[in-house]
Amino acid sequence: MIIRVRLHGRGGQAMKTAGRVVGTAAFLEGFRAQDSPMYGPERRGAPVASFLRISDEEIAERGYVWSPDIIAIADPTLIGDPRANVLDGARQSTAAFVNIPTLDGIRVGDLTRLTNYDVTRAAIRLLGRAVLSSGVAGAVVKLLPISRQSLEEAVKIEMEDIGLKEREIDLNVKLALECFEGTPRVPVEPLPTEELQQFRAVELGWQPPEVSIGLIRNVGNGVEKMTGSWRVSRPVIDYSKCTRCGVCFDYCPEAAITLAGPDNRPVIDYDHCKGCLICYNECPVKGAITVEEEGLAEKVASGGVV
């Protein structure tokens, strides 16, 4: 029996480390275990996935988990993001953990075995910032045949490995155990290996240069990608202090700031602002740009969650 887990998060939420914590916990529990991450060339905030296989038999698999038995979603705005492919290969019986205060009004495809915990709030309370690795790991371990002791030991090993000091390690253990206790258990039904998707070969053949040359003809489609959902912190302009110098406009790497109106005031396009805060750092006027924590409720309300 192999249990296949896929973790979805955004760059910076530490889903790679979360995968490692669960992998080590499974290893300590005496299982065969395999964990690996996948990410593109993008930055903090971009979709990231990591994969786990936990088994009492040989794991003759590698890499991407195409048929997950458990999906863990560290950021609910990913559910509606087509680039994140959160529902890839999910079955109705796939269990899903969502990092969200309540499941009221939340749909994850047609999945029925949903569970949740507000890991972000716990992380901010304990660690002072939204680093979710230990918390999501604790929640995922709750769904697996892995003990509390193995989880605790795994958090210590992995947090020490990334160079955390003893106090921070202890807080991460607290976070993991809190999320472990607080996440309601839902049944997990591993898909037998024989029932994994069958391979059916197709022959594509030669294609004309119009389609076979690696180019983008539908240019400007980046606008359709709402990178605003990547944001953890939101820059806000106080127009009473802003001098209209235009420095934020010059520095914004995403062209998410435009100069508008007769006074050329900078306007932030929150659909595409990734929250890098370069504008905040470069603004020469104290207090003209402030930083607010991104409220999850607003993002969910803005259509991020299906």
Binding site: M38, G40, P41, L204, G205, W206, Q207, P208, P209, E210, S212, I213, G214, L215, I216, R217, V219
Partner: protein, 412 residues
């Protein structure tokens, strides 16, 4: 009109009659003369092209690739270490499907540093997606440049092409070369017409996307392979038109004295002249031996080889390169090509020689044939590869090592 030209000048003339519009240059022996001539012609107004000197071969290939994407016919040339430095961009250009043509002047790869010929550089880019045409003579160097554009720019192909000549022997060696009239070449080679040029501002496109998903990456790689496969039929069409318009006929491989032959020697590049001469003289002595020479190395002329070599008793492959830890590159590829042939030669023997311009004589060719015949007669599996290192080479080496090491380590 025929005139005495070096291989380098022939390459430059090939670019000139192909009416290339963009040239990137960076000097390296034994290639520099190619871009020196082109730069002079552009400066004099003999060519309507833009010429750019680059700060490295890597940038140079990036530049000619980008020029090609903008819809103009782009050309460059390099050699050896310079090609190795640029190799990353070669994969990029092939992936962009930019039909750049570049002339490689084959030279060995240090260390130890050498300026003379070896095919390690051109063989080192065999997996990049570039088509490859190998010239034996200065005439072929010139003719292969317009041929390369014609094949590479074909809608079915859209791939860059490397034309290879041998350093010094051809690059600096002169022989009579016919330079066809520009009007004739225009008949043969239509204007380059890129489907989606980057400078069409009404229809903007973006090249070189980053892909995170394997299926899409695999699709584009498979399309490169399919385009390579189709280049074979396009070669034949181009060769037929070239013969009709210019009057010289080329096939992917040259077959020499293969009728009723029992044995054959396979080679590529300028040393084939020596091997062909030796084969003719061995024929005069009653030996049933022929030769096959590679003109098109990518796509590999597999079917042509199967056709040419089926039924022979033994084949010797002369590789002027060495894939260290494996052996000769042509030998290895030929072994694969012949594996499923119903009447494959009983013996396939690998010889390595001529590295760094080392001597290959008539008698070395006789030696290869004798060894091949012995292997066929004995019925035993031949030991491969075999190095063509002569007594005379050993005497020269002994003297050189005595000088560099200060003591006699190999006796003359």
């Amino acid at each position: 009109m025929k005139r005495m030209l070096t291989g380098n000048a022939s390459a430059a003339w090939g670019a000139r009659i192909s009416e290339v519009e963009y040239i990137g240059g960076y000097p390296i022996t034994p290639q520099s003369e190619v871009v020196e001539l082109l730069s002079k012609w552009v400066a004099e107004g003999a060519m309507n092209a833009v010429y750019t000197n680059y700060e490295s071969e890597h940038s140079m290939f990036a530049g000619v690739g980008a020029a090609s994407l903008s819809g103009v016919r782009a050309f460059t040339s390099t050699s050896s270490q310079g090609l190795m430095f640029a190799i990353e961009m070669l994969y990029a250009i092939a992936g962009w499907r930019a039909p750049v043509v570049f002339v490689n002047v084959a030279r060995g790869l240090g260390m130890p540093m050498i300026l003379q010929v070896e095919h390690g550089d051109i063989m080192g880019i065999r997996d990049t997606g570039f088509l490859q045409l190998h010239a034996e003579t200065c005439q072929e160097v010139l003719d292969f440049v317009p041929m390369a554009y014609r094949i590479g720019e074909d809608r079915r192909v859209m791939l860059p092409v490397a034309v290879n000549m041998d350093g010094f022997l051809i690059s600096f060696g002169r022989e009579p070369v016919d330079v066809p009239d520009k009007e004739l070449v225009r008949d043969f080679l239509p204007k380059y017409n890129r489907p989606y040029p980057v400078v069409d501002f009404s229809n903007p496109v973006a090249y070189a996307p980053t892909i995170v998903d394997g299926y899409a990456y695999m699709y584009f790689k498979e399309q490169l392979q399919k385009a390579q496969e189709r280049a074979r039929e396009v070669f034949y069409e181009a060769a037929a038109d070239f013969e009709r318009i210019i009057g010289r006929r080329y096939e992917p491989i040259e077959r020499y004295m293969l009728d009723d032959a029992d044995y054959a020697i396979v080679s590529t590049g300028s040393y084939s002249t020596i091997i062909r001469g030796a084969v003719r003289r061995l024929r005069e002595r009653g030996e049933r031996v022929g030769m096959v020479r590679i003109r098109m190395f990518r796509p590999f002329p597999r079917d042509e080889f199967v056709d040419a070599l089926s039924g022979l008793k033994g084949v010797a492959v002369f590789d002027q390169n060495i894939s260290l830890g494996k052996g000769g590159v042509i030998y290895t590829e030929l072994a694969e090509a012949l594996y499923h042939a119903k009447e494959r030669p009983r013996v396939l023997m690998s010889f390595i020689g001529g590295l760094g311009g080392a001597e290959i004589s008539f008698d070395a060719v006789r030696y290869m044939l004798e060894r091949l015949k012995d292997a066929v007669a004995s019925g035993e599996e031949p030991r491969n590869p075999n190095w063509l290192f002569s007594e005379e080479d050993r005497r020269r080496l002994a003297r050189a090592l005595k000088l560099t090491l200060g003591e006699e380590v190999i006796s003359e």
